[in-house]
Amino acid sequence: MTEQLTTIGLNHYLTISAFLLGFGLFAVITRKNAIVVLMGVELILNAANINFLAFSKFNGGMEGVMFALFVIVIAAAEAAIALAIVINIYKIFKSVDVSSIDSLKE
């Protein structure tokens, strides 16, 4: 057991990423502020990255690394677009309250 705690293995990283993922999902689901929702998304992406890197570390391939790289890039793009959208939404609805934006309903 102690051995399992002291030697840092794959599971440690997976655990961290699991927590990040859970928090991210929680934020995406529960928070009304669009910005915070975005932050949640970022958390999820980070969780994914950690997993990628961990797996590539522990079986010696480069794929995970490369994908992490791409994920970061895409995350940046996504953030930019998303924030722009948020700004537009704010322009239109005069609020960033996601729950008040339900024109998807009808």
Partner: protein
Amino acid sequence: MSNPTYTVIFYLFAAITVCSAAFVVFTRNVIYSAFSLLFTFFGAAALYVFLSADFIAVTQVVVYVGGILVLLLFGVMFTNSIMKVQKSEVINIIPGTLLLVGMIGAMLYTFYTTHGWMPSETLLQGSIVERIGFETMSRYVLPFEMVSILLLAALIGAAFLARFDKSSK
């Protein structure tokens, strides 16, 4: 690798990451969450270093901390009056909590009950910057180009979306 200091530092960063992430989610102030997100990113970067992906770590710091976080802060400042605490800003808290607990529990259960992971003996060692460059130019050149085009598109799109709209004035 049973170097104790190493272990301690790892746990330290892991704690920073997870706790700040939790703070991001649970605090009611957007500014606070934004700033604590900063710590999450740093923690993640540190963990990348542990995973011997130092280039990724640097990228993480540069892109996330230098770019995305600043963007988020701008967003916050555009949309809220600073330091203002918003009331009643959570919805469907129960399913959220359920999912949070359920997901995390389930995943941890999975991780620690399954012994499917069989780490290969050849671990990733040392700096991988050179190899990244090599892979980028050889095997992942097409995704690389696509991603660059995507970035360009995102850039233009963002500029277009957030442009100063005359008609709205």
